[in-house]
């Protein structure tokens, strides 16, 4: 289950969605806003999400993770809107019978989310003009 949120992520609440007596392992990844990127000082950022497609694509990623690693459940949330340094941008929780598949699936889900979800990030810098990450003319070539 994956959703997009305009308000801060409540990790305690999300963890409670992953209580299952068959599960011996719970692994989570918390992506946070850091204060620098490629040598520039970042002061805050915006996430913009095409929510309809993002939720659909994330559901596919979760199904792939279940198929590949035999895990029990995944819960994920990605923020949209304005975020400050230290805010949680994305949270992925995975439960499985054992820790190996839980770690592998969590890594798989966050990696695929980064590459496949229609989510864009605009960084605001201390010393230069804000920009959409990966969207410069020379990027992606």
């Amino acid at each position: 289950m994956f959703r997009v949120s305009s308000v801060p992520i409540d990790t305690d609440l999300l963890s409670k969605e992953l209580i299952n007596s068959s599960s011996g392992a719970f692994v989570c990844f918390e992506g946070r806003v850091r204060n620098h990127n490629e040598g520039d000082e970042v002061v805050s950022l915006e996430y913009e999400v095409y929510e309809g497609l993002a939720v659909k694509e994330a559901a596919r990623i979760v199904e792939e993770a279940k198929e590949k690693f035999g895990i029990l459940e995944v819960v994920g949330v990605h923020r949209q809107g304005h975020l400050e340094i230290g805010d949680i941008a994305v949270w992925i929780g995975v439960i499985a019978a054992h820790r190996g598949p839980a770690f592998s699936a969590c890594r798989y889900v966050i990696d695929e989310i980064k590459h496949r979800l229609p989510v864009w990030k605009k960084e605001h810098y201390k010393h230069k003009e804000s920009k959409w990450v990966n969207c410069s003319e020379h990027d992606g070539h």
């Binding site: 497609l53 989310i113 229609p118 003319e137």
Partner: protein, 83 residues
Amino acid sequence: MKESKRLNIHYYALLREKTGKTEENIESFAATPLELYKDLAKQYGFPLDFRSIRVSVNEEFQSMDTALCSGDRVIFIPPVAGG
């Protein structure tokens, strides 16, 4: 002969800023998203090459060469940066 189609286009991120719009309805002779993107890039001065763009048609990823139909909802997806 090409037929004109009525398309609903939504813009996100850099493309939203370049157009100054979140969406618009247009009449277009573009047969594919690739043709449509090239038309819009010229009109609005999109800085991104079509090779770095993906497209969603009716809320599903599609090829840039897929056939467009009247009534389609088209969203061009610049390089993503989630997580």
